[in-house]
Symmetry: D2
Subunit: 425 residues, 4 copies
C-alpha cells in the first residue's frame, strides 16, 4: 500500500509507523515535490542515465541537506556514482531528507543539531570514503582534504564566493592539490539567482510577515545590485512606489533611467513606509536615522549578514520589543514604533522560503555538469581554480530552455563566418 | 507592568496568567497592529471624538469578529456609542479579539465554535439591547429585526451583495421598516477591494502554497473582471507570462489591448503552468480539460464558491490525493499529476491572509460614515434601500489620501462654472 | 499600368499625369493603407457583402474626410448603399481621399478650404439626395434635416457628445423626427479610444516635438481619467517618473494605488520636467504657476480645448517666443525658458498623428452596424435618441477579436442558468 | 535686435538676411536647444571655465557635425582650447551648425555633400593646425596623423568600436605614436546608449513610420542584447505582446525570466505583426521566411548594417514596391503585402531622430573629461590604447546625477574598511 498523505500519517497512532517511517514518507514527498520543478537536473539525468559516466567514481559532498540537494544526489547516483554527504551547516539539515537519502543507499553523515565536533567528525567520515570528486559549499571539505593530503581526489567543485577565496589562498601559496571548478561564476548561476530568486523571495517574506497592501506603499531599497534590481522591479510590479539609495553613481544612474526615484537615504527617511537593505555593507541604516522615520515604519534586511541595520542600537533603546506577528518585532523608540522584520537577518531566508527550487536547479545543474566534466577531463586539468567552462554554462541554459519547452535559433555557418569577419581586423 | 511579548507569555508557566489574560494581551496586539494600518478609521475617530455624535445611540453589529472589526467598534465607541455585537459567521470568531472587546466594555455575544442555535440566540441578544442603528453582513440581523418588529431601530447598513438582495426583497414587498444604506456600492469599496486587495492576496496564497518561481511561468487567468485584472497585472509585474480566458468580448478586447495573451481555455490547456479561475461561474475548468493539461500543473480558484473547478471529478478519479504541502494536494489522474490548491476553495482566504487591513479600512470607513449619516439624517430618510451618498464616498477617498499624507487640488469657482457651462445646453 | 509609388509620380514631369491623377493615386494608397489596419470594418463588409442589406438605401454622411472615412464609405457602398458625403470640418478635408471617393462613384460635396457658405451649401447638397439614413459628427446635418423637415429620413447616427447634446435638446422639445443612435456611448468606443488611442498618440506627439529621452524624466499628468490613465501608463512603460494631479479624490486614490505619485500641482511645480494637462478644465496651469517651474520645462495639453494652460499669460509676457522646433515655442519669462508644445492645443492631433486607424475602426464599426440596425429595424424604432444596442457593442468587440485572430470561450447553457440563479432572488 | 523665430526669418524677403545669416540663426537655436538637455557637458564647463585647463592646447576633432557636437566644442572652447574640426561623415554635416561654429571662431573644414577628395583634404586641414589632442570617430584622423607622423600630438580619443580595432592593429605592430583613450568602453557610454537611447528611438521610428496602435500588437524582436532589451521593455510598456528570438541560450533564458515569450523565428513567423532585428548578424530574416508571415506584416532593422533582413530577395520579387508612407514601402510577394521600414536600414536613425541629446551628453562628457585627462597626465601616459579611467566614468555618472538634481549617499570610512575586510582574505 502506498502512503498517500503525510498528514494522515502524522495523526495516525498505528504502532507500525515509527518516527523514521514518517520522516521517510515525508522525505519522499519533499523529493518528489522538488523533482517536479527541478527539470534541468532531470534533463541531465535523462541524458546520461544509460551511459552511467560516473560509475567508477566516489563523490563526496558537503552541502546544505535540503530537498533540492536530494534531487542533485539522486541524479548523481543514477549516473553511477557512489555518494557520501555531510552537512555544510549544522542548522540546515532537514531530517526527512536525511531519511530519504539513507533509504536510497546514500551515505549521510549528519544529525540534526549536531555539535561543532560532530560536524567535524562527519566531514572526516566523508573524507574516509576516499572520494574522487568533492563538491563543497564553503571549502571546509576542500580545506580538510588538503590538510590530510587525500590522494584519491582528482578534482572538485565549490559553490560559494567565500569558499573560492579560501581556494585562491591555497592556490597563491602553490598548495592546491587538484583542479577545482568555482560554480558561482557561471552566468547561469550569478545572473539569475539574485535577480529572479532573491527578488521574489523578499516579496514572499514581506507578504508573510506583514500582510500589508503593497500597492501605494513607498518602499526604499538600499542598493541597486542584482538583488535590489530584482526586488525593486517586483515591488513596482505590485503597485508600490520605490526609491533607490546608492553609493555607486553608475548604478544610481541606471536606477534613475529605469524610472525609479533616487535619493540619499537621509532625504527619504521621513517618507518611506518600508526600508529594505540589499547592499552587503554595514550600518546602512544607523542610529541617527531611526528618529527621522515615520511612526510605524517597517525595516528589513536582504543582505547576507545582519549588520546592514543597526539592530544593537534598537535593542539598546527598547529591551522588550513587542512581538506583533511571527518574525515581526515592534520597537518603541521615544514613542515611535519601529517594526523590525526577522531581527534584521536576511528576510528571504528567515521570513520567506528562500530561493525557489527552479533557481537551485540552475546552480546544481552547473555542479553536476562540472562533476561530469572533471570525471571526463581530469587528466588534462591542472592543479588550479577554473571557472565553469562556457560550454557548460551554455548547456545549462540550453537544458533550462528545453525543460521549459522553449526552442531557440542557431547560427548558420554563413552567420558564424560573418561574425568572425566583422569582429576582427 | 506592560506585557511586551505574546510569545514569552504563552511559554510562561506563571500561575497568575490565566488563559483569558493571554488572549486579552494577544487581542491588544491584534488591535494595535490593525490600528497601525487602518488610518482612515483613525482619521474619522480623530475628527468626531470630541463632539461624540453617537453618544445617545445604541449600535448593534453582526460582523466577522476580526482585528479589523475591533478597530471599527473601538472607533464607534470613542464617538459615544453603546455597542453590542454578534458574529456574522460561527467560524470567523477570533477569540483574542473577543476578549479585547469585552475588556473594553463592548457587549460581545459570540463564542468560538458556537452552534447554529447559539448563533441565533446571540443575534437575539443583540436585538434585545434595543439597538438604534444596525450594521449587518449578510442581512441576518436585519431579517430578525424585521420579524420581531423592533421599534428602536432608526436605520441600518449592510456590507454584502447577498444581504442587499434580501433587503431588496423586503422592499419590493413594502415590508422595509427603516432606511438601510448598502455599503458595497460605494466606489471606494467595490473599485478597490477586488482590484488591489484580492489581486495581491492571490499572489500571497500562491507564494505560500507553492513557493515556486513566478518569473517565466505561464499563468492562465480565467475572467478579466476586477479580480482578474488585479491578479494578472501583479503576476506580470513579477515576470510571469499571462493568458486571459473570457466569455465577454468587451473584456477580452480590454485584456488584448492591455497586452495580455487572450485565448480559449481549450487552446491554452496544454501550455499553462498554473490556472486561476476568477469568474463567479461554475465548471470553468471541467472534466474534459484535465487530460489536456501539462503534467504537474497547478490549479487555484479565486471565486467565492468552490464550483469553478470541477473538484468532484478530480476526487472521483483519485480518492487519496497526496498532501504535498499545506493547502496543496496532488491528484494522480491516469499517471498525470494535477496539483489543486486549497481544495478549489477561494485561494486568497484559505491559503493567503485575505484582504489586507488597508482594504478593510476603506470598507469600514464607509460603514462608520454611513452610521454617522443615519444618526444625523434619519428623520429625513425613507424606509428604503439607499446607496452610500456620493459625499461619503468622496469623504472616504479624501480621508484615505489624507491618511497617506497626500494633498490634492481643488476646483476654483471659475472652474466649477466652466464645468457646468460645458456639460449642459 | 499600375502606379507603384506616389513619390516617383510627384517628381514626374510627364504631362499625362494631371494633378487629380496624382491625388487619385495617393488616395488609393491612403485607402489601401487604412484598409490594412481597419480589419473590423472589413469583417463586417465580408459578412454582408453578398446579401447587400443596404441596397435600397441612400446614405448621407457628414464626417471628417480622412482615409479612415474612405474605408467606412467603401464598405457601406459594398453593402449596396448609394452614398453622398459632405465634410464635418472645412479644415479636415484630405484632397486625395476626395479624389479617391469620387473615382469610386461616391458623391463628395467638399472642397479644400471651403468657405462657411460653401460648407453650408455642401450640407444642403447631401440633403438634396433624399438620404434615408444620416450619419453625423456634430449634428449639423441632423439639425438642417430637421429644419427642412426632410421626409426621406428613417433614422440616423451621431458620433460626438456635443452632437448628442443638440439632439437631446430637440428630443426634450418633442421635435425629434426620427430615431438616432448615439455612437459615443458604445463601450467599444469610449472604453478604448481615450485609454489606448489618445494615450499612445500623446507619446507620439511628445517624441516628434521634443525628441528628448523619456526614461528618467519627471512627467506631471493633470487628470486621471481615461486619457490620463493611458498616457501615465505609457510614460511609465518608457521609464519615466509620473506624478498625477487630480481634483477628484476617488481618481486620486486610484492613481495612488496604481503606484503613481499623487500631489497638488503647486507642490510638484518645481520638480516636473514636463507637464501634460488632460482634464477638460480651464486654467489647470495658470499665471501663478509658471514662475515656480524649472527653467527649460515643457508644457503640453491633451484636452479638447486650448484653455487648460493659460497661454494668454505666456503670450503677454513674451510676444516673440522662439520657434525651437516644429510645434515647439520657447517663451522667455523673466529669464526662465518655458517650452510650449503645439501652442497649448491638443498635442496628439496637432503634433502627433491623432488616433490610430485601429481606434477609428472600433468607432466606425459601431457606425456601420448601427446603420444596418436602423435599416432593418426602423419600423420598430421610436423618434428618440437610442444608445448603441448591447448586441452591436458585443458584436464589434467580437469582430475585433476575430480580426486579431483571437477566439474566446462561450458560456454553456448550464453556466447561463447558474448565472441567473445566482444573480436574482 | 535679437532674432526670435527661425520661421519668420525664413519667410522674410528682407534683403539684408542672406542665406548664411538664416543658417546662423538656425544654428544658434539648434545649439541652444541641445544645450538645454546636455547638462553634463554644461556641468563640466562650469567647473573648469575659470581655470581654463585647455588654454595652451590645439584640439583637432573629426566628428559628425551635429547640434550635440556644437555643445561639446563650445564647452572645449570655453575651457581655453583652440579648435578645428572636420566631418566624420560627408552626409551628416548640418549646415546651420557649421555656420554657428564658424561664427564662434571654431575652424570648420566641412561642406555639405563634400566629395571623398574634399573629405580627405579637410582632414589634412585639421592635421595642419598642429593639433595636440585628437578626438576621432572611426580613427580616420588618427590613421592619417600616424601616416604623416605629426609631432604635435600628445594624445587622443576614439569614439567607436571600429575605430578601436584600427588602433589596436597599430598598437600590435608597435606603431602607435601616442596614448589613445577608447571612449566606447566607458560604462556610462555602453551601458546607457543602447538600452535607453536606441530602445526609445526605435519606438520613435515605429510611431512616425507606421502610426499604428502598439497596444495589442505582437512584436517579434530578434536579439536580446541591450538594444533588444531596451526596445522590448518599451514595447511592453506601451501594451504590446513581445516575442524574443535568440541564438544565445543565456540571453534567451534571461528573456524568458523577464516574462517575454521566447521562440524560434520560424515558429513565430505566422503570428508576428511586426518584426524588428537587433542582432548585428546577417540574414536574420531571409528568403524562406517571408512566405510564412502574415499578410500586411511590418519589418524593421535596428542593427548597424542593412544585412539583417534579406532586402535583396524582396527587391528581386517586387521591383516596384509601393511607397505607402515616408520610409515605408510595401512589397507584393505572391499576393502578400510585406511592409519594409526604411529600406531595412537602421530604423532609429533613418525613420526616427536617433539618439536623444541626453544620451550623446553621456558619451561626449566622457570625451571631454578624457581630453582633460590627457592634457593633465600626458607625460605619464604610454603609447598605448587606454580604457576610460574608472574615475572619469564615475565622474560622468556623478555629474549626470547632479545635472538631474539627484544626490546620492557616500560610504563612510568604516564602511570602506568593512568592504575591504570582507572582500579579501
Amino acid at each position: 500500500m502506498e502512503i498517500r498523505s503525510q498528514y494522515s500519517i502524522i495523526k495516525s497512532k498505528d504502532k507500525k509507523y515509527t518516527n523514521s517511517t514518517i520522516l521517510l514518507e515525508k522525505g519522499k514527498l519533499s523529493y518528489e515535490w522538488a523533482l517536479n520543478t527541478m527539470k534541468i537536473i532531470s534533463k541531465i539525468r535523462e541524458k546520461y542515465e544509460r551511459s552511467k559516466p560516473l560509475s567508477s567514481f566516489n563523490l563526496g559532498f558537503c552541502l546544505h541537506i535540503t530537498k533540492e540537494t536530494s534531487v542533485l544526489l539522486m541524479a548523481a547516483k543514477a549516473l553511477g556514482a557512489n555518494i557520501s554527504i555531510c552537512s555544510a551547516n549544522p542548522l540546515s539539515i532537514q531530517e526527512d531528507v536525511v531519511e530519504f537519502l539513507k533509504y536510497n543507499e546514500i551515505n549521510v553523515f549528519a544529525t540534526k543539531n549536531q555539535t561543532k565536533k560532530e560536524f567535524f567528525n562527519n566531514i572526516i567520515k566523508v573524507i574516509n570514503t576516499n572520494p574522487n570528486i568533492i563538491t563543497d559549499d564553503g571549502a571546509e571539505l576542500h580545506s580538510i582534504a588538503h590538510n590530510r593530503k587525500i590522494k584519491s581526489i582528482i578534482g572538485g567543485t565549490e559553490e560559494t564566493t567565500s569558499g573560492i577565496l579560501r581556494i585562491l589562498s591555497l592556490q597563491s601559496n602553490n598548495k592546491l592539490n587538484y583542479a577545482i571548478i568555482g560554480v558561482n561564476e557561471a552566468k547561469t548561476k550569478h545572473l539569475f539567482d539574485n535577480r529572479y530568486g532573491t527578488g521574489q523571495s523578499i516579496i514572499d517574506g514581506l507578504l508573510r510577515t506583514l500582510g500589508i497592501l503593497i500597492a501605494g506603499k513607498h518602499f526604499v531599497v538600499s542598493g541597486y545590485g542584482w538583488v535590489g534590481k530584482g526586488v525593486s522591479s517586483s515591488l513596482r510590479g505590485l503597485g508600490a512606489k520605490v526609491t533607490i539609495t546608492e553609493v555607486d553613481p553608475i548604478k544610481a544612474l541606471e536606477a534613475h533611467l529605469d524610472g525609479f526615484n533616487v535619493q540619499r537615504l537621509k532625504d527619504v527617511l521621513p517618507n518611506g513606509d518600508c526600508f529594505i537593505t540589499c547592499t552587503g555593507q554595514r550600518d546602512v541604516i544607523s542610529k541617527k536615522d531611526f528618529s527621522l522615520m515615520k511612526n510605524g515604519v517597517f525595516l528589513a534586511n536582504a543582505g547576507h549578514f545582519d549588520v546592514e541595520i543597526d539592530i544593537h542600537y534598537l535593542q539598546s533603546q527598547d529591551k522588550f520589543p513587542k512581538q506583533m506577528r511571527p518574525h515581526l518585532e515592534c520597537y518603541n523608540i521615544n514613542g515611535k514604533k519601529i517594526h523590525l522584520i526577522a531581527k534584521g537577518r536576511v528576510i528571504n531566508l528567515i521570513a520567506g522560503e528562500g530561493n525557489a527550487s527552479e533557481v537551485m536547479d540552475l546552480s546544481f545543474a552547473n555542479q553536476l555538469l562540472s562533476i561530469l566534466y572533471i570525471a571526463e577531463n581530469y587528466k588534462n586539468l591542472k592543479k588550479k581554480l577554473y571557472e565553469v567552462p562556457k560550454e557548460i554554462d551554455d548547456q545549462v541554459a540550453q537544458l533550462a530552455l528545453s525543460a521549459f519547452g522553449i526552442k531557440i535559433d542557431k547560427l548558420s555557418q554563413r552567420q558564424i563566418d560573418y561574425y568572425y569577419n566583422n569582429s576582427s581586423l
